[in-house]
Every structure is written in structure tokens, then in C-alpha cells.
Symmetry: C2
């Protein structure tokens, strides 16, 4: 049976939210078990109020917690009994098929690469969250901590992202685009100019469906399913998405509360507005997979809710069932290097 | 008297919008004259319906127009009688003190550097639009076409941006931040890691008020007045600002129109919403200056309205009155190189 390890100590509202998310995931679907990783006593306290399928849920004790602000590589090296390190080791030793954590992004990224390790041929393991667009979700690849990527890294991101969007999100022929400052082929910085012809060639071979450059303004319009970029740029895109949405909504709310007339209107549109916001919430897609590792590692938002934890767990289940790891391995050319590049920028 | 050259042929609704914007600018303030550059016949036709101060408005004939899609450097070189080339030459030969164009961004950027030329000591001329934030406008510097900047370029951007925000926007002590993927000093890509200590040192000397790194999510919150970044990243930020705002508003509008109840509410909040949107509209600040040239060049949005053209012209007037060009020259160390780097990425 598939087993998914879950960091019970990760996230703003851990362990309560994580434990309930795990219980709900088990209830909603059969075919897998969960190992909650963390302080046994605290986890058991949270579980005491819940009804759950005992044979599908176990606890792995981890006495330490890596805090958000800790330097990630040092934390992974020194806190051997932290929930993140213990969870990743379960994956490494095949006692779990995936690990989900809403804890420190840097520690999960560094630990994923140091402990679980990259799949043969994979040059870099990108963090690839789904972001909302007018036409459904798009995969933003890479948003991780390994900045200053090379062109051949971006090419691999395109392959991995295409497999993910096809097999996990059900997009038959995912449109791959590279983030650029103009639509023309000759535009871009040195990295994009080098990567563009490689992506074009992969498209011509039929390996991916490459649609060219995408300007940032067209990302929210949903003009690509796999949005390829270097991690610094991806990080800026992800965080600005969040920042502009929340600031704009604050501005709208303040305006609505400014007159009696609009206050009444505001009350009337509240349900519709809430619904719209939900559709455009960056955090609503659960976790972001760290692709290209020997086994799956998923990073959830620090502010993950029960539903998000549950979704992240179910996402892992699909990922394993569809054997995405093998598909990525097969799609990636075997000449990849494996030198450690994880200390850069974390 | 200060004379401002205005590209009558630039922008989606030229020459009508531009001509009326110019007439309105003359009406609203004394102390300067305008030279409209473009096809005389068309300009005169637009002017025929307007009342304006004839002694403050002249026309400079330019028989050609550079189209948006033309390769910029080639267009500047070959269309010697285009409104952009003629206008920039007026500035070069001191027949105008500034040039405003809502035409091809690439051509204005390339032409600004090729024809007007950089001020002594300036290594790169950044395009620096104002962007809306919760706490007023911030200057995003650089959004131009010269990508892959060096750390010493970013340092100069910080100096130029600080002068602009202080003297044009009235921010007494502009907070300068560098766009980064985390708030800690050790984070970032190679460029940011190199620029950070240089900015910090300038801050310690009291030349600028450096507040450290800014994550993209905090830009819309207004946590910096001068947002320093490399042009590729700046371009992504500017366009994503636009893209997320407009998509989000579309989603909100669609939701509001989906039920009878929220339709009524929508009608009631319309004025408040409109007001909010105006406060958060990227295009509302008129033009983006191309800083660090021997004289001022301002790029207006392609979709500029009359009001935006007027604002861009008045912005030029302030810029010249306050002698920003000299202040920039004085703030920049004199050892700057002047090699042409304008062909990169345009």
C-alpha cells in the first residue's frame, strides 16, 4: 500500500490543522496510509478527538522542529531528529512514498535534495506551484531556492512540467511558454536567449508543446499551462501574484466601506466576491511539488488550512499512482550532471 | 522658456489624444512651450477644433512614423524623419528640453541613448515608471530593455531613483530596497548578492536611505519608495502588476454579474470600485522617465489618454524646473564607463 509521510509540525497552525487534514484525506479516499511525523504526544492529543481508521494511520516520533527563520542547510544537518529530516528519511528508506510539509520552505528544498536526492539525469529539482489563471491553473516552474539556472535546466523544467500538467492536472497537450520581456524570439536576457532555441527544438521534435515566449501580463490570462522560468523570476512572479491580489482586494474593500450606499452593495456582492477570490487564491491548490527527486516531496503553504493539507496529500496519492517519478526519469536525457547546487541562494 | 517636444504620432490614439493632451497641458500651467512633432497636416487638422495659445505651441514636421513592431535600433537608424528621431534630435540640439512619446518603447529607449546620449558618468539609462501601492506611488527602476545589468548599474539606479522620488514626488527620505527572494542579506542571485553590500555602503554613507531587500509581495504594500531591480525582473513586475489587476477585476466582475442579488450590489458599489481601480491603475501616473540621459526623455503608455499625455508633459516641466539632470550628474561618481550597451535585448 502507498504510504504518505506528513510533517505534523509544519505550518502556522500545526499540529492541529495538519492532523485534521490527514484524517480527512484518509476518509475521502482509499488505497493509501499516512505516517504523521512529529512530537508523538502532541499528535496523539490532536487525534484524541477524531474518529479515524487506525490501521491506516501511524505516527513517527520526531522530537525537534525546524523553525521558519533557521538557515535551511544548517538546520537539516544539525536537527537530525526534526520532523522534516525524519520524514525525508522515511522517503529515502522507502518507508514512505512521499513527504508533505508546510514547514520551512528552505529546509524542505534543501532536505529534499540532500536526503532524498535527485533522480538520475535530473540536473536541478524545481519547486513548481500551481497558480490561478482565468482559464484554470498553470504550473510555475521554478520557484525554488536554486537561482541562476542554466538553459539546460530550463529545458528539463519544461519536460517535467509537461508531464505534471498532463498526468496530474489532466491537460492533454500542455502549452509550454518561457517567461520573457517580449513576444519576439530575439528578445530576452542571456539565459532566455540560450534556452529559447532548445525549447523550440524540443517542441519541433514533439517532446513538448512549446508555444514561445510569454509576457508576465499574459500569465494570469492563462495563455500557457507550463510557465518556465528561472527561480529568482519565478519567486518574484509567485509573490507578486499574492501581493497584488491581496493589496487590490484591500483597496476595493476600503472603497466599499467608504460610503453608506456602497456598504449596502458590498453586503449584497459578498458571496459572489468570496467565490471569485477563492478561484484566484494562490494557496488554494494545496502543495507545490519539488519535481525531479527520487521520490515525491511536496511543500504546502505555511498558512495551509485543513483542506489544503488534505488536497496536498491526495495530490501525492495521484502522483504516486500515476508513477510520475518514472515518467520524469524516462523523459530526461541521461547525461545530466548531479553536482550539488543546493547551497546557492537558500 | 522651457520647451517640451511631444511625439504627436505616438500611441494608440495619436494624433488626436496627444494634441488635446498638449493643449490641456498648456492651459493648465504657464512657463513652457510645446513643439508637436509629426505629420503637420494631421496635427493641424486636430488643432483646428481647439482653442490654444498659439505663441506657446509650434509644430516640427516629421514625415515618418516608427511602428510598434519594428526592430527599434534599425528603425532609429533608418527612419531619420520619424517623429521619434526628429523629436530626440530637437532635444539633442537643445531646441527642446525634453521629449515625450507614447510610441514604440524600444525605439524611444534605443533612440534616447543613441541620439540624446547618456549623461557623463551614467553607465546605464534606466526606464523608471511609477507603480501604484497601498501607500502611494513607488518608482520601479529598471524596466527598460537593457537586461543583464551589473551590480554597479543597480547602485546608480538607487541614486537616480532617490533623486527622482525626492524632487519630483516629494518623498523627503525615499526608502530604497532591492528586489529579492527573501528578506535576509545572504539571500539572492549572484547579481543581488553583489549589489546588496554596495547599496548598504551607500546607505551607511548617507547617500541613500537603503532599507534592505524587498520581497515581491511587499511591493504593492508600499514598503519601499525606490524599488531597485534588473530590467528583466522589472519588466516582469510591471507587466504582472497589470496582468493580475486586470484579470482579478474581470473575475470579480463576472462573479458580480452571476446572480441577481450581486448585480444589484454591483450597481451600488460601482462608484467606489471605480475610484479604487483608479488608485491602483499602473497607467495613471503618466509617463516613465528614461533617467540618466543628457536631457529628459519620457515614455508614455501606448494606450495613453489625454490626461496621461498632459500629466507626462507637466512631469517634464517639473523635472526641468528642478534640474534633475544636473542633480543626477552630481550624484553619480565620475568614473562611469560610457560604452554602448543599448543593443542588448531591445
Amino acid at each position: 500500500m502507498i504510504n504518505i509521510a506528513v510533517d505534523a509540525m509544519g505550518g502556522d497552525d500545526a499540529p492541529g490543522v495538519v492532523v485534521r487534514g490527514a484524517v480527512n484525506a484518509l476518509e475521502s479516499r482509499n488505497g493509501f496510509s499516512i505516517t504523521l511525523v512529529g512530537k508523538k504526544e502532541l499528535i496523539e492529543e490532536e487525534l484524541s478527538g477524531e474518529t479515524y481508521l487506525k490501521e491506516r494511520l501511524s505516527i513517527a516520533e520526531a522530537s525537534e522542529v525546524i523553525e521558519m527563520a533557521e538557515p535551511p542547510v544548517a538546520a537539516i544537518r544539525h536537527k537530525k531528529d526534526s520532523s522534516i529530516v525524519v520524514g525525508l528519511n522515511l522517503v529515502k528508506h522507502n518507508e514512505a512514498d512521499a513527504f508533505v510539509s508546510a514547514g520551512s520552505t528552505g529546509a524542505v528544498l534543501a532536505g529534499g535534495q540532500l536526503i532524498v536526492g535527485k533522480e538520475k539525469g535530473v540536473k536541478r529539482a524545481p519547486l513548481a506551484p500551481l497558480i490561478p489563471t482565468e482559464r484554470g491553473a498553470a504550473l510555475l516552474i521554478d520557484c525554488g531556492a536554486n537561482v541562476d539556472a542554466r538553459a539546460d535546466h530550463l529545458l528539463q523544467f519544461a519536460y517535467m512540467g509537461s508531464i505534471y500538467m498532463r498526468d496530474i492536472c489532466g491537460v492533454e497537450k500542455p502549452r509550454v511558454a518561457i517567461v520573457n520581456i517580449g513576444a519576439e524570439e530575439e528578445k530576452g536576457n542571456a539565459l532566455v536567449k540560450e534556452a529559447y532555441p532548445m525549447l523550440k527544438e524540443a517542441g519541433e521534435k514533439g517532446d513538448i508543446y512549446f508555444v514561445g515566449s510569454i509576457e508576465a501580463r499574459d500569465i494570469p490570462k492563462g495563455e500557457a499551462d507550463v510557465v518556465v522560468c528561472e527561480a529568482f523570476v519565478g519567486n518574484v512572479i509567485l509573490k507578486l501574484y499574492e501581493g497584488v491580489s491581496s493589496t487590490l482586494l484591500d483597496v476595493v474593500k476600503t472603497s466599499i466601506m467608504s460610503t453608506a450606499r456602497s456598504k449596502i452593495g458590498g453586503a449584497l456582492i459578498k458571496p459572489a466576491l468570496k467565490d471569485a477570490m477563492k478561484r484566484f487564491d494562490v494557496s488554494s491548490y494545496g502543495g507545490a511539488p519539488l519535481l525531479g527527486l527520487k521520490n515525491l516531496v511536496v511543500k504546502g503553504h505555511g498558512s495551509s488550512t485543513e483542506v489544503e493539507i488534505k488536497n496536498a496529500i491526495l495530490q501525492c496519492f495521484s502522483f504516486i499512482q500515476k508513477d510520475i517519478t518514472s515518467k520524469i526519469r524516462e523523459s530526461i536525457s541521461p547525461e545530466g550532471d548531479r553536482e550539488g547546487d543546493i547551497t546557492n541562494g537558500i
